[in-house]
């Protein structure tokens, strides 16, 4: 099974217990039992913490971070190759559609580097050609 790069919205969806949380719970179970491998770039953590801290939920943000680490989700630092690749991708997709954010580009670069797939609900990745987009 391909490695999954988990997007922020998947984690938030689970924490908000929205429709689809059951499927995410199954995914997390598979990660916990090592049937699947999942990673996030450090920037997803940054984003998660920023979103929640802005809403005075700093402690919850830290709890979610702990949970992900306990689960076995590996946090990957953006290295030099990934940073350059993300820059190319940002430029490529910024012109092709409304706009690709820096974090979108980093997530995509990570998926390419690790030969994985992007696990997201975000339609921004629909036109991405380099890797497969999957929902949990």
């Amino acid at each position: 099974m391909a490695l999954k790069v988990i997007d922020t919205c998947v984690i938030l969806k689970y924490a908000l217990d929205e429709d689809g949380a059951d499927a995410i719970a199954d995914l997390f179970d598979r990660i916990r039992s090592r049937k699947e491998t999942a990673v996030i770039p450090t920037t997803v953590l940054t984003e998660l913490v920023a979103i929640l801290t802005k809403r005075n939920l700093r402690q919850v943000a830290l709890e979610i971070e702990d949970y992900l680490i306990d689960l076995g989700v590996e946090v990957i630092s953006v290295n030099r190759d990934m940073a350059v690749l993300a820059g190319f991708l940002k430029a490529k997709y910024a012109t092709a559609q409304k706009g690709f954010s820096y974090n979108d580009a980093i997530i995509l670069a990570l998926a390419i580097e690790y030969d994985g797939e992007i696990c997201t609900y975000d339609s921004e990745f629909d036109s991405v050609m380099e890797v497969k987009k999957v929902v949990p």
């Binding site: 938030l12 920023a50 939920l57 702990d66 949970y67 979108d104």
Partner: protein, 68 residues
């Protein structure tokens, strides 16, 4: 082909046999296969329910707008 030990007892017997020279060596990969599932302290499902009045994807996209 990695043999998947079903439980610790089966692995223990295989290791015992190996030590006594009656079995083969157990590989690290085989040991990893039977490592217990990770224990997670507290499930975070629904931890934000009632605290944020927005959809997950909207929250994320809104934040990402500032990264453009």
């Amino acid at each position: 082909m990695i043999k998947k030990f079903e439980n610790l007892n089966e692995l223990k017997n295989a290791i015992d046999a190996s030590i006594k020279g009656k079995g083969r060596l157990i590989t690290l990969e085989e040991l990893l296969v039977i490592m217990p599932e990770r224990k997670v302290k507290r499930d975070i499902r629904g931890i934000l329910k009632g605290l944020i009045d927005k959809k997950a994807t909207d929250l994320m996209r809104e934040e990402r707008e500032s990264w453009r």
